[in-house]
C-alpha cells in the first residue's frame, strides 16, 4: 500500500487580484521506504507540494492521503498532532533552536511533541546522534557547528520520533557541493537504517541524481515521474 497517494491535487491562492495556481492536477503515489525528490525551477510548486504532504497547507481540490489519512480534512491541532506522530522535517536553513544544545535540539520533539520518559529520551537521542555521527558534539550549541553538522542534527531531530516520513525542503541549498552529497548520503543511510521514506525538493541536478524516484514540476504540474537508472 502506498504511503502517499495524491490524485487531482491542486492548490491555488489569491495574490492581490490574481489567483495563482501553484499546483495543478497532481497525481502521484509514493511507496514506503522510497527516496524521492521533487525537482523543478524556483516557483514550480515544489515547496507547496511538500507543505501539503506535510500537513502544513491544505489542497484546494483533489485528494491527498498520507499514512492512510485524508490530511485535507485535518484541522490546525489535528494536523500538528499528525505531523508530530508521522512526519519529520528538515529545513533549508536547518532551523535549530539556538539556545538549546545539539542534544537538546534532537530531544526537543520528544518533550514538546511526544512525551517520552527521560530515560527513553536519552537512549533514543544518543542512538540518533550516533547514527548521524554527532554524538561527540552533543553539548555544543548550533552556532558552534558547521552547516553540514547542523543539517545532520536536523536529520536526527526529524527521525527521533520514529517518523515514517521525512520531508526535506531544499536540504542542501545552503551547503557546499561536497557537504551536500554527504548529507544526501546520510539521508540514504538513515532510510536504510530506519526504513523511513525521504522526500526532498531540490533544483540541484547533482543532488536530484541521488533520488530513486524523481517528480519534475513545471509551473505547478508534474510533468513526469522518473525512476533512477
Amino acid at each position: 500500500m502506498a504511503l502517499i497517494e495524491a490524485s487531482g491535487l491542486c492548490k491555488s491562492y489569491q495574490a492581490g487580484d490574481v489567483v495563482v495556481e501553484a499546483i495543478k492536477e497532481a497525481t502521484f503515489s509514493i511507496e514506503p521506504g522510497a527516496f524521492v525528490s521533487f525537482v523543478g525551477p524556483s516557483g514550480s510548486g515544489k515547496s507547496t507540494l511538500l507543505n501539503m504532504i506535510g500537513c502544513l497547507d491544505t489542497p484546494t481540490c483533489g485528494n491527498l492521503s498520507v499514512v492512510n489519512t485524508d490530511v485535507a480534512t485535518l484541522n490546525h491541532k489535528q494536523a500538528a498532532v499528525f505531523r508530530g506522530n508521522h512526519i519529520g522535517f528538515v529545513f533549508q536553513d536547518f532551523n535549530l533552536i539556538p539556545v538549546l544544545s545539539v542534544y537538546e535540539n534532537v530531544e526537543y520533539p520528544l518533550i514538546m511533541v511526544q512525551r517520552w520518559s527521560a530515560q527513553r529520551r536519552r537512549k533514543q537521542v544518543m542512538e540518533l546522534l550516533e547514527a548521524v555521527g554527532m554524538q561527540e558534539q552533543a553539548e555544543k550549541r548550533p552556532n558552534q557547528l558547521s552547516g553540514g553538522q547542523k543539517q545532520r542534527v536536523a536529520i536526527a531531530r526529524a527521525l527521533v520520533t520514529n517518523s515514517k516520513l521525512v520531508l526535506a525542503d531544499e536540504p542542501t541549498a545552503n551547503l557546499d557541493s561536497a557537504t551536500a552529497h554527504r548529507v544526501i548520503d546520510l539521508m540514504k543511510s538513515m532510510r536504510e537504517q530506519f526504513e523511513t521514506t525521504f522526500i526532498f525538493s531540490t533544483h540541484d541536478p547533482k543532488v536530484m541524481a541521488e533520488a530513486e524516484v524523481t517528480f519534475t514540476l513545471v509551473d505547478g504540474r508534474i510533468v513526469q515521474p522518473e525512476a533512477a537508472a
Binding site: 497547507d57 500538528a80 512526519i87 522535517f89 532551523n95 539556545v99 526537543y108 518533550i111 514538546m112 531531530r157
Partner: protein, 415 residues
C-alpha cells in the same frame, strides 16, 4: 511541565539583559509595595492601638445626642441610673466584651494657685479603665506605673498642662467645675501622674477617680457620660457593633425614639479617615504593581514572540500543538514573574529586618519619637506573590495565544 519550564528558562536566558531589566522592574515594584505595606501597616497599627487601647476602647455607648455635642462635654446628656443599669446589664452578658469602663467626662478650670487653665477630665473607675484601655498606664511619663492609675483625691494630668503650668507629681492643684445647674464647685487634688499626650480625641485629657468627679460635679445619682468597651481578641468590630447597635436601638423613650447611641472608635476618631486613606494608598500601590507587571511582561513577551516567529514556525511544523506552544510562552512569563517576586520578597524582608534593627522613629502631630516596627505577614507576602504571578501569566496569555495560532508556513517564511 518541568521540561517546558526548563526550555522556557533557556529562552529567557537568550536575552539576558532584557530578562534582567524586566525582573528588576518587577522586583522594584514588589519591594515598593511590601515596604509601603509594612510601614503603613505598622503606622496604622501603632496609631489604632494607641487610640483604642489607651483612649477610646473599641466601642462606646452614650445617651442619644451626646456625640454630636461631645466638644461641649454636656452634663445634661449624661446617662441616668436607669439607662446605666440597662447598659451594664447588657455588657455583663455579652460574650464578645472583654472589659468596659464607665466614664464621667467634663471640663474644669485647673489652677496651680498661680495660673489657671481649662482641662478636660475623665472620671473613671481605675481598674475598669485600665482593663478597657490597657495601654493607658504606659502613657504615664511621670508617676508610678505600679499603683492604680488614679486614687481618690489624686489626679493624672496631661503633659501639656504639666509643662505649661510647671506642675509636677506631688503638687497640689485646684479644680473648679460647673455642674449641670450652673453652680460652681471646687476641690483640691494632688497630681499623681503626668500622661503623654497623643493624637486624637481624649489624647490630652486628665483622669481622676469617678467618685471624685461625682463629688466635684455634685452629681446626686450615679450617672455616666459614656461607657467605653473593649472587645475580646479576634471578635469582629463590625459584627459586635451591629449586634450592640441593634440591641440598643430597641430601647426607646416614650416618644418611641432610641435613647442610646453606639459608636465604633472609627466613628469617634478622625484617625479612621487617615486609616482609610492608608488603605486606599495600599490599594493604589497594588494597582501600580499590577500595571508594572502587566505592561513589562506583556511588552517583553510580545517582543519575544515577534523575534521568534521563524522558530515558532519550526516548532509548529515539527508537530508541537498550539496548546504546548501557548504553555511554552506562558511559562516564560510565569518564570519572569516568579523571578521578580522571589528577588523582591528577599530584598523586602531584608530591608524590613534592617529597619527594625536600626529603630526608625517618626513624629505625628505633637507626638515625637514614635517607633515604627514594620512587619509583613506571610499572608501578605503570599497575596502579593500570587497577584504578581497571576498578572504575569495573564500578561503573557495574549502574546502566547498569538504564537500558538500562527500559521507554520507564514511563520517559517518570516526572517
Amino acid at each position: 511541565m518541568i521540561n517546558i519550564l526548563k526550555i522556557a528558562a533557556k529562552n529567557l536566558l537568550r536575552y539576558r539583559r532584557r530578562t534582567f531589566l524586566t525582573s528588576l522592574l518587577i522586583t522594584i515594584g514588589i519591594v515598593a509595595v511590601l515596604l509601603f505595606m509594612s510601614l503603613s501597616g505598622s503606622f496604622r497599627a501603632l496609631m489604632v492601638g494607641q487610640i483604642t487601647d489607651s483612649m477610646l476602647g473599641h466601642l462606646q455607648i452614650h445617651k442619644k445626642g451626646y456625640v454630636a455635642s461631645i466638644d461641649n462635654l454636656p452634663l445634661t446628656l449624661n446617662m441616668k441610673p436607669a439607662m446605666v443599669a440597662k447598659v451594664t446589664d447588657y455588657l455583663q452578658h455579652d460574650k464578645d466584651v472583654a472589659a468596659w469602663s464607665p466614664r464621667i467626662k467634663f471640663g474644669a478650670m485647673f489652677s496651680n494657685f498661680k495660673e489657671t487653665t481649662s482641662i478636660r477630665l475623665n472620671g473613671v473607675d481605675p481598674q475598669r479603665e485600665v482593663a478597657t484601655c490597657p495601654l493607658l498606664p504606659g502613657r504615664l511619663i511621670q508617676g508610678n506605673h505600679q499603683q492604680p492609675l488614679v486614687a481618690p483625691g489624686k489626679i493624672v494630668i496631661p503633659e501639656l498642662i504639666a509643662k505649661g503650668l510647671k506642675v509636677k507629681v506631688g503638687d497640689s492643684v485646684v479644680l473648679v467645675a460647673t455642674n449641670r445647674d450652673g453652680s460652681v464647685n471646687g476641690n483640691t487634688f494632688t497630681v499623681s501622674g503626668v500622661l503623654e499626650g497623643i493624637s486624637g480625641p481624649g489624647g490630652r485629657d486628665g483622669y481622676m477617680d469617678i467618685n471624685d468627679a461625682r463629688n466635684l460635679l455634685r452629681l446626686q445619682e450615679p450617672e455616666l457620660s459614656e461607657v467605653a468597651i473593649r472587645l475580646k481578641p479576634g471578635v469582629s468590630l463590625n459584627k459586635a457593633f451591629k449586634a450592640m447597635r441593634q440591641h440598643f436601638a430597641q430601647i426607646t423613650n416614650q416618644q418611641g425614639k432610641p435613647v442610646f447611641e453606639v459608636h465604633t472608635w472609627e466613628a469617634l476618631s478622625p484617625f479612621s479617615n487617615i486609616a482609610k486613606m492608608i488603605d486606599m494608598l495600599d490599594t493604589f500601590i497594588k494597582v501600580m504593581l499590577v500595571a508594572i507587571v502587566l505592561i513589562s511582561i506583556m511588552n517583553v513577551m510580545l517582543m519575544a514572540v515577534y523575534e521568534r516567529i521563524h522558530e515558532i514556525g519550526t516548532i509548529a511544523a515539527i508537530g508541537t500543538t498550539p496548546s504546548r506552544i501557548l504553555m511554552l510562552f506562558v511559562s516564560e512569563g510565569l518564570l519572569l514573574g516568579i523571578l521578580g517576586a522571589v528577588i523582591g520578597i528577599i530584598i523586602s524582608v531584608a530591608t524590613i529586618a534592617i529597619i527594625n534593627a536600626r529603630t526608625l522613629t517618626f513624629s505625628f502631630g505633637r507626638q515625637d519619637n514614635l517607633v515604627l516596627q514594620p512587619t509583613i505577614s506571610l499572608n501578605e507576602i503570599l497575596v502579593i506573590s500570587l497577584i504578581v504571578v497571576l498578572v504575569a501569566v495573564l500578561a503573557s496569555l495574549q502574546p502566547a495565544w498569538k504564537a500558538s495560532r500562527m500559521n507554520p508556513i507564514t511563520a517559517l517564511r518570516h526572517f
